[in-house]
Amino acid sequence: MGKLINDGIRVDGRRVDELRPYRLEVGVLKNADGSAYIELGKNKIIVAVYGPKELHPKHLALPDRCVLRCRYHMSPFSTDVRKPPAPSRREIEISKVIREALEPAILVEEYPRTAIDIFLEVLQSDGGSRCAGITAASLALADAGISMYDLVVACAAGKVDGTMVLDLSDIEDKEGEADMPVAVMPNLNIITLLQLDGILTHEEFKQGIDLALSGCKKLYEAQRKALIERYFKSGLNQQEEAE
């Protein structure tokens, strides 16, 4: 295996602090209460939110808040070798961490005795699909009109060839030394997900957090733009004209 970083340029031509190209869209599914779509590098993920809705069986409902259910799923055609469609150990785990990354952002007490379902379908996978999934899922929740303290945006940092880099691609994730996904509520400055696969020194860890937060900031701007595009575009034009 050759070097993954040459003269500060990574295998896909990015600098160490550069995100892969991204695109976000809100309201892509008619039948869901809220939906969003994200492309981040080769990742293509579609997210649908249903709810709040009545929870069946009823004994699972909580009297004072809603239940959040999350399903992260990779479609059989999302990888280069067909992936069996049954949920794997990895998918079940990622579903759980995504749910726990989104839960602090939702005003769950506003919807007692109900459930909110989040479905993340990975159509094409690359490295960092959980982060892309979280970013899109929070948009879909906002699109569904669910009360939230803040949007959640996620981005990974990691260590490749001894250098801290932002937003690892699939090959960097597999061949690199460490991968650290971070999800954050940008306005409140609260981290809701922090995982680390590999070993980092204290210095590298701090550098990694700073890198990941800078990536999140850029993605948050994209989230904002996607929501404005969907909801206020015509209204903003009118407002500008009036001014």
Binding site: A105, L107, R113, A144, M148, Y149, M185, N187, L188, I228
Partner: protein, 227 residues
């Protein structure tokens, strides 16, 4: 008239700082106010609120809703009111206090699939909404066209002091029953109904724009309708 400032916001966005009262869809941290929904934030003397552009219907007491009977038992009907809670219409509220199950068959009054106009008489965090059909204009809906819109757009369809609904009724010759849950029944002549449905969909799509009533008035060829 006190000055009210408006701005478009997304969840987590700072609306304003200062000594205000949080009214709706607002999160207060210290003396800063953040939006909890996508919508139009309004802040002024009265307080800070966000008028959401999307979201589910959460029942409120005294709301007029249009629901569909989905099931019944010996004591009550279950009604789908386009919300995350199933509503209940109690048989004793329909037949009177002396109602005894077994003597009356609930299905004779309202069958599964029937549409009803009803008022929410009780609802809170701990229990499902209870409906009542006693009152003028309430009860079974036997005719008309049903249109569904997003529940958050209902206030816009009604308009300030009912200006929008009066405009539509005058322009189409139809009678509109608007449920707060986003279900609307239009009764009238077929050509009027077609026109009314078109206007309702337009209002839903452009609910966040200003001067909508004037636009609808121009579309229907109606002049200002007095209250």
């Amino acid at each position: 008239m006190p000055e009210v400032k408006r701005k478009y916001v997304i969840p987590g966005e700072l609306i304003t700082e200062g000594n205000y009262r949080p009214l709706a869809n607002v999160v207060k941290r210290g003396n800063k106010f953040y939006s909890a929904r996508i919508g139009l934030a309004e802040f002024g003397q009265e307080g800070v609120r966000v008028i959401p552009l999307t979201g589910p219907y959460i029942p409120k007491v005294n709301d007029l809703v249009i629901g569909k009977i989905i099931d019944y038992s010996a004591f009550f009907w279950q009604v789908d009111i386009n919300s995350c809670f199933t509503a209940y219409l109690l048989a004793k509220n329909v037949y009177g206090k002396n109602f005894t199950p077994g003597q009356e068959s609930l299905v004779k009054k309202f069958d599964i699939g029937d549409l009803i106009a009803a008022v929410v008489t009780a609802f809170d965090r701990t229990r499902d909404p209870i409906l009542s059909v006693s009152g003028p204009g309430l009860g079974k809906i036997t005719k008309g066209e049903v249109v569904k819109i997003a529940p958050t757009k209902v206030p816009r369809l009604i308009g300030k002091k009912g200006s929008m609904i009066r405009t539509i009724e005058a322009g189409t010759g139809c009678k509109l029953t608007i449920g707060q849950n986003g279900v609307i029944v239009v009764v009238g002549r077929p050509e009027g109904i077609i026109k009314a449905v078109k206007v309702i969909k337009l209002v839903e799509e452009e609910a966040h724009l200003a001067d909508l009533t004037q636009k609808v008035q121009a579309m229907l060829g109606v002049k200002e309708v007095g209250g």
